[in-house]
């Protein structure tokens, strides 16, 4: 694969999966600075991974893998410590900056609380919660995490309970 092809795929992925990457970043880092750092780290790893992409896995599965592996290895402030780094993206992740895709303020509030609740979960559980909320199948989740499908169901029941506890007041039941 030459650089032009790599670049073309990167641009397409950015266009198609930006929302997914941002969701994973927001669920893993709380402050806008950290989110910006992590997002750039994810992008660098996505870029680097393109040459290894043979189309055997779905693009979303691939991006989940890269993003999760990046968030697990990520250290707060690492990018900021690196020299010569120029910011190319300013993320304004405050609730006020939410566009109108999220219909109503109550729903927006729920999504914000969900992000906060997911950040409280252990990292592996947070990964599963994110994929579950995004509607991935058990098989896809198993492919991303490298564990058996049987585990997924058991784990998801527990995670739903944990999320329910943390979102108590906002939801009657999960």
């Amino acid at each position: 694969m030459n650089t032009e092809e790599q670049e073309a795929i990167f641009r397409r992925w950015l266009n198609d999966h930006l929302r997914l990457m941002l969701k994973l970043v927001r669920a893993s880092a709380a402050t806008p600075e950290d989110q910006d750092d992590l997002f750039q780290e994810v992008l660098v790893n996505v870029w680097s991974s393109i040459r290894a992409f043979r189309g055997e896995a779905k693009e979303t599965t691939w991006i989940y893998r890269v993003a999760f592996n990046t968030t697990m290895a990520w250290r707060r402030g690492e990018w900021r410590r690196r020299k010569g780094h120029e910011r190319f993206l300013k993320l304004d992740t405050s609730p006020q900056a939410q566009p109108s895709h999220v219909d109503s303020p109550p729903e927006r509030e729920i999504v914000e609380r969900l992000y906060a609740a997911i950040r409280q979960l252990p990292k592996v559980d947070a990964s599963l919660a994110l994929m579950h909320l995004d509607g991935l199948s058990y098989q896809e989740m198993a492919e991303v995490l490298g564990i058996s499908e049987n585990y997924i169901g058991v784990k998801l029941n527990r995670i739903r309970k944990q999320l329910a506890d943390q979102l108590k007041g906002a939801n009657d039941e999960l």
Partner: protein
């Protein structure tokens, strides 16, 4: 609200943050960051292995030119340290975690890497400090033996003085290097290992 409704609310969110994305600039920066990271790794390796290689050549050259055979020991020690680092880096690079692997494989690979790093630093005395100390010690003894001395000082006193000074300087500086390495293990590597182990346990539970 049940889980399906929650899921619907989750999936209905847009990009979330307001962002003006300049794809060209982003691509340029991603490439630049990647390049910067690779350059940083290259210079780190070059610095460590390069210093050892440079010293090897220097000591060999001096040893041959001035016919000081003991400098060959020092050159040998530097050669050993440089070769060890080079081979180790090469072997570890092949085992590096791949970010597009499943999470479990990536965590396992990271754990292997961290464990190896801990092993390296915990054993820094054996592969780094001891060979250098031995090479330098042989050189000091031979120097003390061959150096022309005045009548007032006996050969034994000179050897004792030089060896004592060497032991003091060498002991202090090596102790500092060893202490810094163990500090890095305690402060950075052990917590990272625990973190990775708990992630792995999280996948198994």
């Amino acid at each position: 609200m049940n889980f399906e409704e929650l899921q619907k609310a989750w999936q209905s969110q847009g990009h979330g943050p307001q962002l003006a994305l300049d794809a060209n600039l982003l691509l340029k920066e991603v490439r630049r960051n990647k390049w910067h990271f690779e350059v940083m790794l290259f210079w780190r390796d070059t610095r460590e292995v390069g210093v050892a290689a440079g010293l090897t050549v220097l000591f060999l050259f001096w040893g041959i030119r001035d016919r000081v055979w003991s400098l060959n020991w020092l050159a040998l020690a530097c050669l050993w340290v440089g070769s060890f680092m080079l081979v180790d880096r090469w072997r570890q690079r092949r085992k590096q975690p791949v970010t597009n692997d499943p999470l479990r494989s990536c965590i396992e690979a990271s754990l292997i890497q961290v464990n190896h790093q801990i092993w390296l630093l915990k054993n820094v005395f054996w592969w780094y400090l001891l060979p250098l100390a031995t090479g330098a010690g042989v050189f000091i003894i031979s120097l003390a033996w061959e150096i022309p001395i005045e009548v007032r000082v006996s050969r034994g006193e000179l050897v004792g003085f030089l060896l004592g000074s060497y032991a003091l300087v060498c002991g202090l500086s090596f102790w500092l290097v060893y202490w810094l390495n163990q500090l890095a293990v305690r402060k950075h590597l052990e917590p990272r290992r625990q973190e990775l182990e708990s992630l792995l346990a999280g996948l198994d539970q």
